[in-house]
Symmetry: D2
Subunit: 377 residues, 4 copies
């Protein structure tokens, strides 16, 4: 129940057990093509979108958007926490003009504030974070994107903590760049940044951009196209084995059905929130900003890092809180999790908090979680 890498199906892991597959083998090219096509689906993109799977991580995918930016371009960063701030840290490394809107802890920057800034701004790009991993806050990127469509050239959404667990409709919402990483709600090992780019975004990639070399999407574009067409290609070595896992995971996601998958994530998230509130604790994200994938739990007395140490010895790996203004820990519930995981997580959290001296109603969290499940499944 970590925020990433999440629980991974053995089947997904075993798909990557290949002793002897080079990056020119037909078997790999097929897997890569399938993975790219699967990425489009899980992102709610259509064939006008170009998918990318590159070695690295979510941060690498974020930085790769510099392939579309030129010296002096203006970028508006909407930050609801640590991973919103990361956009700022990345972009300030380049000769760009960066403006940041920031939300309070557990909150999201409002649509109104964004629109206000946008109107005066002449921004080339806006970046938003669908689910802010540091707090579990989900912002309504779909609605905001629709409103922004005419005010900015490139709308970029960081879906690292959402894609695969939340509804994502890149095409319908008019998002130009939707990006994620392999290890979150897609339920794969870490090691790849994953993006889809709209036609406009793809055409904006430029050799005149501020990007470096490895993360310049211009270098990867032809490789991705070749792979999808069943031909080989090389720029830098792709994470061959991981791609087999990604291809398998996307196949399993399709078998499950995206709607079912989102419903399952919502059920687990709801169970966890019911349990947390049932035992008398507060969820970090404000009501209306809950996500399907991450829940922050505020504590009063105990040291959150003690909670983590104790639960890990009880076989449960949670994640530390990382927002400096709050005292909390995080429960990740992404990938191949199910209601049983939610129940046993609540059980361990309840016992741990109680043992460490935090005021909790032992048994009540579990009972609330169970009632939520009974009513909703």
């Amino acid at each position: 129940m970590h925020v990433g890498p999440s629980i991974i199906e053995t089947e997904v892991l075993l798909a990557g057990v290949k002793e002897n597959v080079g990056f020119t083998s037909p078997e790999f090219i097929e897997a890569m093509g399938n993975a790219l096509r699967g990425v489009r689906k899980v992102m709610g993109a259509d064939n006008t979108y170009q998918p990318f799977i590159i070695p690295g991580s979510g941060t690498a995918a974020m930085e790769s958007v510099t392939s579309l930016l030129r010296k002096g371009d203006r970028v508006l960063v909407v930050s609801n926490g640590v991973f919103g701030d990361r956009w700022e840290a990345i972009l300030r490394k380049y000769p760009l003009e960066v403006k940041v809107l920031r939300a309070g802890p557990g909150d999201a920057v409002s649509e109104a504030e964004i629109l206000r800034e946008m109107e005066g701004g002449k921004y080339k790009m806006i970046t938003m974070t669908h689910v802010e991993t540091s707090t579990g806050v989900k912002m309504p990127v779909g609605e905001v994107s629709r409103k922004l469509r005419d005010h900015v050239e490139i709308i970029t959404v960081d879906g690292v903590a959402s894609v695969g667990g939340e509804e994502v409709k890149a095409r319908e919402w008019g998002v130009d760049i939707y990006l994620t990483a392999s290890q979150k709600a897609l339920g794969c090992p870490p090691g790849a940044g994953i993006l889809v780019l709209s036609e406009r975004a793809t055409n904006t990639i430029s050799t005149q951009s501020v990007a470096g070399y490895f993360l310049d999407l211009g270098n990867w574009l032809q490789v991705m196209r070749n792979m999808e067409e069943g031909r080989g290609g090389y720029f830098a070595t792709l994470p061959v084995h991981l791609v087999f896992s990604i291809s398998k995971a996307l196949e399993m996601i399709e078998e499950e059905g995206l709607e079912n998958r989102f419903r399952r994530h919502a059920l687990v998230a709801g169970t966890i929130r019911a349990g947390v509130e049932g035992m008398g604790k507060r969820v970090v994200a404000k009501r209306g900003l809950y996500s399907n994938t991450v829940t922050g739990v505020e504590v009063e007395r105990v040291n959150p890092s003690d909670v983590l140490k104790t639960t890990i010895s009880g076989g449960l790996e949670l994640a530390p809180g990382v927002h400096p203004a709050l005292k909390y820990f995080r429960i990740g519930h992404m990938g191949w999790i199910n209601p049983n995981d939610a129940i046993s997580t609540i059980a361990v959290v309840e016992r741990t908090l109680s043992k460490l001296g935090e005021p909790v109603k032992v048994g009540e969290g579990l009972r609330s979680a169970q009632e939520f499940l009974s009513a909703n499944s």
Copy 2:
């Protein structure tokens, strides 16, 4: 017998099959620490060197050396082929002064030429390629480094196609940055760039460097130190599962013994060259520049891409030649290969070339390879 990913032991792959390990788990931190310590050994580095394992690839590791370079720094690139030229392509993306020395096909830039250029140069960094994957040429980086030591601040060696298969003595040779990738002679899946930095190199990392964000070693430094000390750390998500495989592979390398491992690679390489020459074909690398890990095979009549297509249907994946001035294909022999692989490779190559109309002495390649093995094992 591809140039990468190479043949991988199932044991190495299975070490990465972990359903539920986050990047803060003690199990992962231990594996990461082991891997970092193992990297030092296989690079011939000691504790004054700082090891790094970062998500990405060999190219990512190459680009990360920008973490040491500032605007206007002068870099000398010694290029013996495609991967030497890659240094130029990377470095020219940054505000640096780059000078390139280039060798002819199958050849290496001479020590004399390098020293001559260096003397007048005031270079901050020199980059060399230990084994040039595109041709199989190995240059004597150890001897050259010793001579250069007082003429340049940072000596960087690309050991992507050598580390794990050739003797590497970073410390003894006075190399400041030795880098490689997981998928070559270390015999792991691709997905990580791997480096060791001398104390001087580590101290040269600067927040004032030209580097971007993800590939800025300054951002990774504390994480690597923490991991080796058994504490967690986070900058961007590490390829957790791959790290377990790298740790396992380095453990197996230590069990085998570095000397035994180099000897095995030399035996396989010698068998392959004996086979190639026995069947009447020429090796691309000039005598004296042979590597343990890659052999280029020149052909006269046949189209090298037809050779690759035919051998792959015979269960053997070779690599295309990529040097524009030559007509050839490449045999990779890195990682967990053994003499049996060499023999069956020669058998398939012999039959394939013969079938496609290339002049070869069928059976003679095999006989020469077998004689070489009989005499040397």
Copy 3:
């Protein structure tokens, strides 16, 4: 939470992934030797006992005791349920005199009754079932064995559902044959019968026995001895890959420590019973006869097979009741199970029974289980 095969650690499964290991390979012989030595430990046997691992199952191990029996020998079968009755079914296939003592459902034949029968009996062998899988009843085989020691030549205990989850002290209790199967509390895949034989039992194996060929322990004896001494041996092909898994599992059991392992099983079993009783249902085994490994749950209204069908679609595989006199289903809790599994099992059972119309107090089972865990861990 099935009664077998139980939940298996991926590590145990992966230990058996070997592409190319014959039964004469040193690697296999070493694994087999380790497995045999590990079997002794988990059985509470010492070096005077001879361990056996044979292809087949628990039933095969049971039938192999015919290797010690000759035409006309008298055997007393103590049956507490279906697997006690199995002894009768097996032995009646052979020219032996078989007498059966039977217990009521949920009960065990008493020590007094056994002693009474024994005194008059002149029995060559007695068979007892440590934990009767069909009901979850555990009988005090240790105490009974000590009392019987002078009244019978060979004391045989079926530990199929106990070894690895309950304390077993073959030597201390004076048991001559303790047998089990790989797939139960040892946490391995099925496919092997496992036994230890006391010196007396080993010496009683006879070519004059009533046994057939494949299950004649006399044919396997030398193979087992050879393997333990690091030499090869062959009678019929051993389940090579499974043996690697067994060896790994026994290694992990030793790392956990037998005491810790029994305590963990007891904790899980206690949690499950607390949950079952907390939701208002009855446990099949009588108080005092509870086992660490199997719990039968009596139901009033619902059809047990409907329970199984519903829970399996909720990701929980339970086992049907098999004792004809009772209406119940079974929860297996053997191998690598932990308190989280107990909690989520109770949660699913509670919801399922409630949904199917069985009178249960939803939430109360969970609360009782949680309280038990809080108090005992």
Copy 4:
């Protein structure tokens, strides 16, 4: 290149990596059904034949034919070596009348001799060995069976070393019981005996038979039928994980195509024989009795066990000769072997024999093998 377990595809092994599958799970029942149907195909049986997969080994499958035999029944054993003799050892454990016809080393009992014995015999059953693993001799069981059809009730063929590598036509040849084991030419781990029984054979199974309990096919019959119909069933625990591997292997066999598979085995076997004879050594089986799956190699001077010890340290596991009248070792070439394996086997054998002082023409074996491959592929 052992005679069993043979080289196994990782994919087949990984199919058995299931952490949590009980024998009542729909997933297992489906795999078992697929495996049973696949067994029919690879045996050349149709729906009138009843397939069985039972825990154990080839020897267990052999002994299970006692389920058809009653006290005093006459059985003719046709023995071409050690595994022919095994029939005698098994059957003599039961109250049956057993007569044995024996062939000389490297030879097979002739059709004429069998017919002669049969005519006078009033035999209930005849047993033949398709490929005698101890010598590599293949006898023409198809032709013989056709001739015998009216002279004997039950024709039993031991196909342990043939099924999956040689053409088998149970139905067309009129064989009543064709049996094998999982670990040979089916390319799976060991642990199961596999049989098909004609309608007549199935109807001959009797509760009055001489069989014991575990190996009484009468106990397994309903389980097999249930499984194929998608319903669960239990007699003794099936090797659940192995069944997933068997199902996968049979699926891969079907993808390859039986004809292609036999052709591949024949190509590999031909290459090995060409290599053996090219280096100046003799094949044990007489001309006309060659098998696709096992080749015995006669030596003059060296000790065969020294050959095995030397080749295993060279990464090649061969099998000892077991026929007392001959000085030889065996090469198994079953399962997922390919011509590359044949070539490297010949290379190792050639070098090993030469090093140990056996007269061989080094390089000539390889050349002959290569020429055979060139001419035949």
